[in-house]
């Protein structure tokens, strides 16, 4: 069970080297125990450190909306210009199970890649492939 202030740096070596780009792949199980704001903080703290964050199961539409809102409040000239985010298009409503429809459940499971806007560039995206170019700071 994750603590109230999640930090993917707990056991990780320092990433202050200029030799590469760090990628944090966060499982759905890890995100499940977090509140919406904790998820957003986890993502933005990583991205602001120059890391690429990959979410196994993505965010809900409401969390995506808040991620955009919080990102905007943190943009500052010559420091942080925002995020690049890519997901596969959401599965069509027809793909939901009968029980999900009956219970009003909407699946949000979609692999999501998030990185600093000045370091990640999407080269190609379609329903089955996201191709991105990642550069160092």
């Amino acid at each position: 069970m994750p603590g109230p202030t999640p930090d993917v740096d707990d056991d990780a070596p320092s990433d202050d080297s200029d030799d590469g780009v760090r990628i944090d792949m966060i499982s759905g199980a890890r995100m499940d125990g977090l509140t919406g704001m904790e998820k957003i903080r986890l993502i933005l703290d990583g991205v602001r450190d120059g890391n690429i964050v990959i979410l196994e199961e993505g965010l809900s539409p409401d969390e995506e909306s808040k991620l955009i809102e919080v990102t905007m409040t943190e943009i500052s000239p010559d420091d942080f210009t925002g995020i690049e985010i890519e997901t596969y298009p959401k599965a069509k409503a027809g793909d939901q199970s009968f029980l999900d429809k009956l219970m009003g459940r909407k699946s949000t499971q979609k692999l999501t890649v998030i990185g600093p806007a000045n370091q990640i560039e999407t080269l190609h995206k379609d329903e089955n492939l996201i191709s991105t170019l990642v550069s160092r700071k």
Binding site: D62, T71, M72, T73, G104, K125, D126
Partner: protein, 213 residues
């Protein structure tokens, strides 16, 4: 629990609708920067009230505050629909002041514009979650609609069960591809128009009355 919650929400929506039938609906005009949202808002406002909503520009993020034009009465097929138009800043996930330097701005002006733009986008997202009853989603039909911002915003709108009308704008320009937008969002009806030239506004008004009346 889910069933009960859904039932409660449905009853609440119906009763809200009954008691607020005469209240103007707040219709947010959303979309990415430079899609022509303010041009459309001005076109609608001028056609039905004689006033404009705000200044238009080819420079991204000209609209940096949500602007509301209240009590716009649209008559269609003998039926009158009253809406408040909310023209919102173009939604994005990144704003870099350096992009404004290409538009004959000095650094101070560019930084100020970018700061206002970020505040405006945050405000627009807040409006979308809390304060609009329906959405007109405007896309530039000369550009690729398969962007993350479009995918996320349409997903957010759908998750809120808001009625949404997708408009494929700038059909007067070469390279306009309305079908590409229709293919990107097949679950929604796509209406072509040129807000600048006023082309196909009759159909737009008919659909506004149908969707938001």
């Amino acid at each position: 629990m889910g069933l009960l919650t859904n039932l409660k929400d449905s009853i609440s929506r119906v009763t809200d609708g009954l008691f607020a039938a005469d209240e103007p609906k707040r219709i947010g005009i959303y979309g990415p920067p430079n899609a022509g949202k303010t041009t459309l808002a001005n076109r609608i406002a001028r056609d039905w009230t004689g006033d404009a909503v705000g200044p238009e520009s080819h420079i991204p993020h000209e609209t940096r505050r949500a602007r509301r034009k209240e009590n716009v009465e649209i008559e269609r097929n003998g039926r009158k629909v009253t809406i408040d138009i909310v023209d919102t800043p173009g939604v994005t996930t990144k704003v870099d002041y350096k992009e404004f330097l290409d538009h004959d701005m000095d650094k101070d002006d560019a930084v100020r514009r970018s700061r206002e733009a970020t505040e405006g986008v945050a405000e627009a997202m807040h409006w979308l979650r809390e304060d609009v009853d329906g959405v007109i989603y405007v896309l530039d039909s000369t550009t690729d609609p398969f962007t993350q911002v479009n995918t996320m915003l349409i997903g957010i709108i759908e998750s809120q069960d808001l009625p949404a009308l997708i408009l494929a704008n700038k059909t007067d320009l070469p390279g306009s591809d309305v079908q590409q937008i229709a293919n990107a969002f097949p679950q929604h009806e796509t209406i072509p128009l040129s807000a600048l030239e006023g082309e196909n506004m009759d159909e737009v008004y008919t659909k506004i009355a149908e969707y938001f009346g």
